[in-house]
């Protein structure tokens, strides 16, 4: 299977601080890939530089063979990548429907079909079409953030900590949706601190630490890995 996204030797720094140091990874088409790691490991910076919100210092980001580094965010989004930003970031004073329509901002064709798709995935959003997004619960806002990203008809959807601040049962629901979206043909790059859930959902995983990728494997391999267990799953290392 071909890679939809290939990142090579990516460096990102803020002023003098290096957030991402020479990382390389690839995302195969149609799979769920996860980047896990603690706070400050550089996961979010990686996503933000892929979508052009942060300019990478050096390195290459190839999406379906085309170079993304140096392009502006709107150009990147129109190529078929969307980011679900950390902390949901729905537009609080716009209605649910308006939020969804903003997601399709780069598209000029009819939205009917995709609105129906998103409404089928999240029936709750259909019920609440006219409600202001700021009045939704955290779980509903996360659904809206995902739905909004899907409205751009992306081939690759990147999620930055979709489980952040949600109750375990809601988190389960979010991951069910992620798998469902993936089944329908959207490639997913998932950044998570909830390593357990993320690795279970993922076909492939990368572990990031202080700006570098330290471990790679399939989701199952990493779940079984002693170091991962010790660092992220809360189990003591066997000595």
């Amino acid at each position: 299977m071909s890679n939809i996204l290939e990142v090579k030797d990516l460096h990102v720094s803020y002023g003098g601080i290096k957030a991402v140091k020479e990382i390389s990874f690839e995302v195969p088409k149609g799979e769920v890939v996860t980047l896990i790691g603690a706070n400050g490991a550089g996961k979010s910076s990686t996503l933000r530089s892929i979508v052009g919100l942060v300019k990478p210092e050096s390195g290459s980001i190839q999406f379906e063979g085309a170079e993304l580094a140096g392009l502006s965010t709107d150009q990147i989004v129109s190529k078929g990548i969307t980011l679900v930003p950390e902390g949901r970031r729905v537009f609080p004073d716009l209605t649910v429907l308006e939020n969804l329509k903003i997601g399709a901002y780069m598209r000029k064709d009819s939205l009917e079909e995709d609105l129906k798709w998103v409404h089928d995935l999240f029936p709750r959003l259909k019920e609440r079409s006219w409600q202001l997004a700021g009045t939704l619960s955290g779980g509903e806002q996360q659904m809206l953030a995902i739905g909004r990203a899907l409205m751009s008809k992306p081939e690759l959807i990147m999620m930055d900590e979709p489980s952040l601040g949600l109750a375990p049962i809601i988190v389960q629901g979010v991951f069910d949706i992620i798998r469902e979206i993936n089944k329908q043909g959207v490639t997913i790059l998932l950044v998570e601190q909830n390593a357990n859930m993320a690795l279970k959902a993922a076909d492939k995983g990368y572990v990031m630490e202080t700006g570098r990728i330290t471990l790679t494997g399939t989701g199952m391999e990493l779940l079984e890995n002693e170091e991962v267990k010790a660092a992220y799953l809360g189990k003591a290392k066997d000595k």
Binding site: V51, F91, S152
Partner: protein
């Protein structure tokens, strides 16, 4: 309510308003304060809505409105002063260098375009700033423009710090209503379009908006330029209303008045801006006038405290009260609509019915 019915209602209301204005003009003397308020109110409503487009819908806190109005007013005046009276207007500058005139609507639109061009140029560096810093920069721009227009060296065009006069003005109150109405309708259409949605998204969350592929710089500039365009047109209208203009008129106090109108009406409500602009002008120019009358007697009682300027004290108190009791402004972010009113009455009616039902159970 269906959209067809809604447009029919709105069209009917607008027609009724224009007929009412027409009848009022036939009945009342043209010197009535009512017309002063209506004319100035309509013009201020347009500036307020244009400022609201920027401050309320795009979240850019700009205080350059007076500067853009000045550009619009001067462009209008310079291009419409009849050639034969140019010698008397530009008496210190040998009749000025512009020796032709444009028709009134063209000159008004030209005023808007000049303001928009300046907004584009200023916007390039200034729109990188946020909130208060943007406000300071735009305020500074407005002040600089005012100073530049008073500069002697530009006299052949701007007449220096002297008055510009003799340009065509309007008599009927219908003209500013129609002109401002058309502009406000255009702004409302913009707000309801995909561009308007993108503006609101930028206001709500810049980073999320950018992640959705909205080009921040481009859209901010667009909002700034369009807002300035309409401020320019309203400046032209204001020139027509005042019949004479001078750069020193467009002080920052003018921007603050407009800002006050926007805040009182509700940041993010077009109809709020319109309503509060009429209320504001009526209060400041008409309803509180009696407070300036030192010799006011009710029966034989001499009302104390009243003296010239007291009106302003009371007005300030009224504004503070409004801001205290309506934190979101009169309208908040809601809009005044036929539908809203009919729903309001329906609710009232159904509420009464429910009450009746409750009492019968007891």
């Amino acid at each position: 309510m269906s959209t067809k019915k809604k447009t029919a209602w709105n069209a009917g209301l607008i027609a009724a308003l224009l007929i009412l204005l027409f009848l009022l003009e036939q009945v009342l003397p043209s010197s009535s304060m009512l017309f002063t308020v209506l004319k100035k109110g309509a013009i201020y409503a347009l500036v307020a809505v244009s400022m609201n487009l920027l401050n309320g819908f795009t979240g850019l806190f700009s205080l350059g409105q007076a500067g853009f109005m000045l550009l619009g007013a001067y462009t209008y005046a310079i291009f419409t002063i009849p050639v034969e009276s140019r010698n008397s207007v530009y008496q210190y500058f040998d009749g000025g260098i512009i020796q032709f005139t444009l028709p009134v609507p063209v000159a008004l639109i030209a005023g808007g375009i000049v303001a928009a061009v300046f907004a584009y140029l200023i916007g390039l560096p200034v729109l990188r700033l946020k909130s208060d810093y943007l406000a300071i920069a735009t305020l500074g721009f407005a002040e600089i423009i005012r100073a530049v227009f008073q500069w002697d060296k530009l006299g052949p065009i701007t007449n220096g710090s002297n008055l510009l006069r003799n340009f065509p003005s309007f008599r009927s109150v219908i003209f500013p209503f129609v002109a401002a109405g058309i502009c406000i309708a255009l702004i409302v259409m913009l707000i309801n379009s995909t561009y308007g949605r993108a503006f609101k998204a930028i206001r709500d969350d810049e980073i999320a908006a950018e992640a959705m592929g909205i080009n921040l710089a481009h859209h901010k500039r667009l909002a700034f330029v369009i807002s300035s365009f309409f401020a320019g047109i309203s400046g032209g209208l204001l020139a027509m209303y005042q019949t004479t203009i001078q750069a020193s008129m467009f002080k920052s106090a003018m921007t603050y008045e407009i800002l006050l109108i926007v805040v009182i009406g509700g940041i993010g409500s077009v109809t709020g801006s319109c309503i509060s602009s009429f209320l504001f002008i009526a209060c400041s120019e008409w309803w509180l006038r009696f407070l300036d009358n030192e010799n006011l007697y009710i029966g034989g009682f001499h009302v104390p405290l009243l003296r010239p300027g007291f009106r302003k004290v009371v007005f300030a108190v009224v504004i503070m009260a409004v801001v205290l009791f309506y934190r979101q402004g009169i309208m908040g972010t809601r809009e005044f609509s036929v539908e809203g009113i009919s729903n309001f009455f329906k609710k009232k009616l159904s509420g009464k019915k429910e009450k009746k039902g409750g009492s019968s159970r007891e």
